[in-house]
Amino acid sequence: MNKEEKLADLRHFLARYALPANRPAVPLGLPAADAVLDGGLRPGAVHEVFADDWGAGGFAACLAIQASKGKPLFWVRPDYEALEYGALSATGILELGGDPQNLYLLRAPHADDALSAAADILACPHVGAVVLELCGTPRALDLVASRRLALLCEESGVTLFVLREGAGPIPSAAATRWQVRTLSSDPRDDDWGSPCFHARLTRHRQGGLGDFFLTWDSNHGLFHDAAAHSGLVAAAPADRPVGAPRQKRA
């Protein structure tokens, strides 16, 4: 193999990781995070969100609202999710800046149904984003299943957010993996109550990792820096959010 062939090979290999021109990245809005993510979340890929407490799943909701702008957002969850974590509320999604008219909810009987339904939905390129909400680690969710979903995403350009609750990471084909906790609101803020998260990027296929404090701006559908408005710098204890007292895991 001569040098040029090798180069062509490498280019071809790298091309798989380059974003296609017609799929712009989804910027989070926080410069530090977008720098690490090389412009934003990669569309047509799988992103995993591990929620550490009751509110942290909202991070996936915010990301999905951002990624699905103007297009249908499919939310897939097995039945028991609703009993444990509550029903998805369209009014709440509206308050977060989402569009309830574009919200589709699929209540699957079991986790494996949810996985196969997600695969069906991902095959349709006119869908904006899919959230697959799973509690615990269902047996059907293995590396093969996740790779299959990732391939479907790549083909259709639909972004999949796998929201995992009460579970730890397992090997997967995800492009990014986020470990998320909710963060207390800024104590000086009178209009407190916007979603605030401490999101750790613990896995990233195409780049570095990071540790971010984000607050969601429902009006613009973007994240802002939560550390900035509270006047603190990011050099903070690694095990808990800045400005927040020690946390207990829920």
Partner: protein
């Protein structure tokens, strides 16, 4: 069609399938109860030969025959069987009506020629039903009442148009089927046949026996009658395939479905219609009929799509389609159709995208059931859990306007997750009686409140008597009822608080009612989770 021995035939058919065969010619009587006494409700041929008859007191029958087998009547099973037979008769004409307890009325107008004329059709129907082990009598006449009387009293008669009167006239007055009292009255008057009754003056009959009787007589003798109301609505559009030899293999069934889908699609195209509800009916050679319905969210006529939806539905069946000895008729019909423009070939990308998503929702509904694929509608109410209702995605258009609660500078004021049933929180310590709680326990965890906003008082809509029942509907309501999720009667008002705990969790709590002078503390509930 009259099945005079439906109950006993049902038992005999079942017995035939049982391992040890009882003697089929043993006299058998089905006992019914009327006026607190047992009487003979139905009987088999050998019991009839021994001189028993319908309506006889059971004690008399027992006295006459020593070893009489008696089985209590099961009207429900008989009715179900009659329904099944009616389903099966669907292959002759779509207009089938039950004539309980043991008759069927088929409107064969315009259908007889398909089976080689009325005589051949009647013979065919009777033979096939008889082959299933039923005693059957039948007749074809101009009106349903005439046919009914002829089937019972002159088995096999087929009247020519306008000759009903001649066929009916010689029948005994019992054929009028007008009830014991009137029958007795007629007998007392010395009338034995319908002809004799018909000779009497109209006013005389009306005065003695009521006007309803007169109408009945007129109809029976060939006057106009009101049309039958069929068991099932007439489908708009259909395509069907009959097989001389029943088909059972999956390949053949699939090919036939394909052909039918194309034929149906052509019909739809011609009529400018798109189907909203597709029904596939599989008529089994042994009489069972399987029906499968597929709903669509948008009018549809593309054969490939029809076929795909149908196959998906067939694959999702809990117990797969059982051909048994094979199907001898497969039918596809558009039970519900709508005017449809040629939108499937539209080049408008937006329209196309919308259609693709609608089709995706259809497929998922076909696979998981329509109540599982949901979308949301906004409702004009103050009750938080009823403001957005999830209903099947195929049910209607979802263009109702949504009104945001918060102003631009506000954080989200409604939780993005709401517990299906508000959960009571315990050990609530509120610093001031009407204020937010300072501490509470929910799901075994203690939480300390550091910030709170409220109360936002949401009062029951007093003008609705039972608010939740009106606001949720259809499948969602049934599902919630089954799970016991329909909320209890709501007290006059709820005071909602948006709170944040020391850990940074944001919840939506409410106090059920207010503090009263009697010192009873109201209960607190956790209703929603904020991000």
């Amino acid at each position: 069609m009259w099945l005079p021995r439906l109950p006993t035939d049902r038992l005999a058919r079942r017995a035939r399938n049982a391992p040890e065969k009882p003697k089929s010619d043993a006299p058998l009587v089905i006992a019914g109860r009327a006026n607190n006494a047992l009487y003979v409700y139905a009987l088999n041929r050998s019991a009839e030969r021994l001189g028993l008859h319908r309506g006889q007191p059971l004690a008399n029958a027992r006295a006459m025959i020593e070893h009489l087998a008696v089985v209590p009547a099961d009207e429900k099973a008989d009715r179900a069987l009659l329904e099944n037979i009616a389903d099966w008769c669907d292959r002759f004409t779509p207009l089938v009506t039950l004539d309980p307890p043991d008759g069927l009325l088929l409107d064969v107008t315009g259908a007889a020629h398909l089976f080689g004329g009325e005589a051949a059709m009647l013979r065919h129907v009777r033979e096939t039903i008889a082959a299933q082990g039923f005693a059957v009598q039948g007749a074809i006449a101009g009106t349903s009442l005439a046919a009914r009387a002829l089937a019972r009293h002159a088995n096999g008669t087929i009247t020519n148009p306008g000759e009903d009167r001649a066929a009916i006239a010689p029948l005994p007055i019992a054929a009028l089927d007008c009830g014991e009292d009137r029958l007795r009255a007629l007998k007392r008057a010395g009338l034995k046949t319908i002809a004799q009754v018909a000779e009497r003056g109209r006013s005389e009959l009306a005065a003695r026996l009521s006007a309803a009787f007169l109408t009945r007589l007129q109809v029976m003798l060939g006057a106009e009658e009101k049309p039958l109301s069929p068991r099932r609505p007439l489908p708009d559009l259909r395509s069907e395939m009959r097989f001389a030899e029943p088909v059972a293999t999956r390949d053949v069934i699939e090919t036939s479905l394909q052909k039918l889908a194309f034929a149906l699609s052509e019909t739809l195209e011609r009529e400018g219609q798109g189907l909203r509800l597709l029904e596939a009916a599989f008529f089994r050679a042994d009489g069972k009929v399987e029906r499968i319905a597929v709903k669509t969210g948008a009018p549809l006529r593309d054969p490939a799509v029809i076929l795909r939806l149908l196959n998906q539905r067939l694959d999702a069946l809990a117990d797969p389609l059982d051909p048994g000895f094979g199907f001898d008729l497969i039918r596809l019909e558009a039970s519900l159709a709508e005017k449809s423009h040629a939108r499937e070939t539209s080049f408008d990308t937006n329209e196309n995208a919308r259609w693709q998503v609608a089709f995706l929702a259809d497929r998922l509904s076909a696979r998981f059931g329509e109540h599982r694929m949901q979308r949301f509608v906004a409702q004009d109410t103050h009750i938080p859990e009823a403001q957005a209702v999830a209903i099947p995605a195929q049910e209607r258009d979802f263009d109702s306007p949504w009104i945001r609660k918060r102003q631009d500078q506000d954080p989200p004021l409604r939780p993005w997750r709401m517990l299906e049933r508000p959960e009571e929180i315990h050990f609530v310590a509120a610093e001031v009686p009407d204020g937010p709680p300072a501490r509470f326990q929910w799901r075994q965890c203690r939480h300390e409140v550091v910030r709170a906003e409220g109360p936002e008082r949401i009062a029951l809509e007093w003008w609705r008597e039972r608010p939740h029942e009106r606001l949720m509907r259809g499948s969602e309501q049934r599902r919630r009822e089954k799970l016991g999720l329909l909320p209890r009667p709501v007290p006059p008002s709820r005071d909602y608080f948006r709170i944040e705990t020391r850990e940074g969790l944001r919840f939506w709590l409410y106090r059920d009612g207010q503090y009263r002078a009697n010192g009873l503390a109201p209960r607190w509930f956790l209703h929603g989770l904020f991000a």
